[in-house]
Amino acid sequence: MKDWRKYLLAFLITAAIFGTAFYVTARLDSARIAEIRATQETISIDLLSSETQFELLGSLDCSTIAQHPVLTDELNSLAEQLSFAESRLGTDSSDVINLKKQYSLLEIKDYLLMQQISQKCGTKPVSVLYFYSNAGDCTDCSRAGDVLTYLRETYPGLRVYSFDYNLDLSALQTLISLNKVKDTLPALVIGNKPPVYGFKSLDDMETLIPELKTMATSTTATSTNATSTQ
């Protein structure tokens, strides 16, 4: 074979291999997005079912609810998947943004449902609304997310809802307005208290949430990475 043909053939084969790798990577990323979407649909159906059940009966069997917290594990698992997809595809990916919107909606619905259950059953769930930004304007958000992830792993009873402050989602913006959360991030709304701003270490959080002292702790730490809690 003439040498220039060999040079060209080698280039074409190399380019084809790279192209194939790119295609396979894209297909696997699409499969991941589809998996997240399927999980979200399942959670969405479960939530709708709980809400419908709640409305139908007017009240729930509070003992059952206390034993089986609504969708906490599923939402946490979804947060992990979303976080991984975000790290793979980037925060600008339209797929990721759409999934985050759906995730945020599910979180809000879960939050509202828990509040309703709390009123009916007299339970006092400890919830944290965490607002972050990954637009590059919040250097402390990553560490704040780490603290909340650790708390969530350590105290399964603690309900952490994380929201991208800049997400263009009317329901989320309503939640932000209702809680009067300013754009000084990271911001935390613990229970029904006013928002708290800035990075809080583990010790700070334990002071801010005194209920943690009486909460049951998990026996094993899992590798959750709550980035969708950033």
């Binding site: 074979m1 040498d3 060999k6 040079y7 053939l9 080698a10 280039f11 084969i13 190399t14 291999i17 790279f18 790798a21 790119f22 396979v24 990577t25 696997l28 990323d29 991941r32 998996e35 998947q81 991984f84 793979r88 990553s142 560490r143 780490d146 603290v147 650790y150 990075f199 270490s201 583990l202 010790d203 094993t220 730490a221 899992t222 590798s223």
Partner: protein, 410 residues
């Protein structure tokens, strides 16, 4: 994509291109099997054994030459003692007394190239070869080389296939795999008429090479590389006799290995600087268009990729430490995800794996060409160690070349 990762992709693309190019060459012209045929004529041969403090291995080296399947009256062995301060001289003199084929020459220490030049000047043989005193030949190595000279009268120098002599430790096994890879790419460079080195262990030259282009030069302590460059510059043909096997002992410690490889790598850079007019020059064929540019690119891409990985890992560790300090989260072990969802299927991972797979194929083909056997443990040693050690000698060589400080032999 950050600029650092883009650089790594360029390195991976170039590495893959190079490997694909060599594989095309392999399938285009597969290496012939060894035959039992003898050469039609046995030319006179002188093998020079340049020695400096080689008391441990010199006797075995000379004995391997004495057992070569070659007419004794056509082969003489010249031990050139380059001012050894150990028992090399005594052993050399004893061997010369015991065997008529062996001659002992002494000279004050002046470097390997001076020892080689003394041997060449003292010899009158048609073919002149060199065998480092840490290497041993297989008994048919010389016949295989002579057959190759006979096949193509235009051939001016021949290099053999090199294997590592009885690798034991992980470091030696790593080098054994590396030498197998070397067998493959040297054969492919041969296909491309672009061999870039005539290594010390058993490279043979026609006498007229030295008459045409002169003797060995100091050449930044890599005279075996420089002479190959010089031969290409003068259009003299170099080939590889993959059926001629030579065994070499390899450095047993990381320190010795780094010293050896720094010398080789720095020698490549400095010789390339001396012969820069050949770089990307079509007049010098695949040597100028492929081997030199890719050698240079491989040097810097190896260094760059290692620095990128080191920077990425170090920054992650530092950031993790700072995060732990700031958040006060205690150190806790996290269980890895077993779900396929979390498997790293990034483009970087895919392309790295592909390049490694091609490297693996090249090593396997090198094994086949050299009829070598490499254990799984050797492969593990290679893939576990090489990536960590090679960047160190690359960095040292680059630094040495920048400072123009000569790389030492030992």
């Amino acid at each position: 994509m950050d600029i650092g990762a883009l650089g790594v992709y360029i390195c991976l693309f170039a590495a893959l291109y190079f490997e694909v190019f060599l594989l095309i060459s392999f399938f285009e012209n597969r290496p012939a099997q060894k035959t039992t045929e003898l050469p039609k004529r046995f030319p006179t041969v002188s093998i020079i054994v340049p020695s400096f403090n080689e008391e441990v291995t010199i006797a075995q080296t000379v004995h391997s030459l004495l057992t070569l399947d070659y007419p004794k009256d056509k082969l003489d062995i010249m031990i050139v003692d380059d001012g050894s301060t150990d028992a090399t001289g005594a052993i050399g003199k004893k061997l010369a007394l015991e065997h008529a084929q062996v001659h002992y020459l002494y000279k004050p220490n002046g470097g390997k190239y001076t020892a080689l030049n003394l041997g060449i000047e003292a010899s009158t043989a048609e073919l002149v070869g060199c065998l480092d005193a840490d290497s041993f030949t297989s008994s048919d190595a010389l016949i295989e080389v002579v057959k190759r000279f006979e096949e193509d009268p235009g051939v001016m120098a021949i290099m053999p296939a090199m294997k590592v002599y009885r690798p034991k430790s992980m470091l030696e096994r790593m080098q054994a795999v590396e030498y197998s890879f070397g067998v493959f790419y040297k054969k492919m460079f041969d296909n491309l008429a672009a061999l870039n080195v005539l290594p010390g262990p058993f490279s043979l030259y026609k006498r007229e090479v030295f008459e045409k282009i002169g003797l060995f030069h100091h050449a930044h302590n890599t005279e075996d590389m420089e002479i190959a460059f010089r031969m290409h510059a003068h259009g003299l043909k170099i080939v590889n006799a993959h059926t001629a096997t030579v065994y070499t002992t390899v450095p047993k410690t990381v320190r010795a290995l780094l010293k050896q490889r720094t010398r080789w790598s720095q020698g490549f850079l400095e010789n390339l600087r001396d012969y820069k007019y050949m770089l990307l020059n079509p007049r010098y064929g695949n040597f100028g268009l492929l081997v030199l540019p890719f050698g240079l690119f491989a040097f810097f891409s190896g260094l760059y990729s290692a620095l990128y990985v080191a920077y990425t890992v170090a920054s992650r560790i530092i950031n993790r430490g700072l995060d732990m300090w700031a958040t006060q989260i205690p150190l806790h072990i996290t269980t890895p995800h077993l779900n396929f969802f979390y498997v790293d299927t990034s483009m970087m991972m895919f392309t790295t794996v592909i390049v490694l797979c091609f490297t693996f194929v090249a090593i396997v083909l090198g094994n086949r060409i050299a009829q070598n056997k490499i254990s799984v443990f050797s492969f593990i040693s290679y893939f576990a160690l090489f990536g960590f050690i090679a960047p160190i000698w690359l960095a040292r060589a680059a630094w040495g070349a920048v400072r123009a400080s000569p790389a030492s032999w030992r």
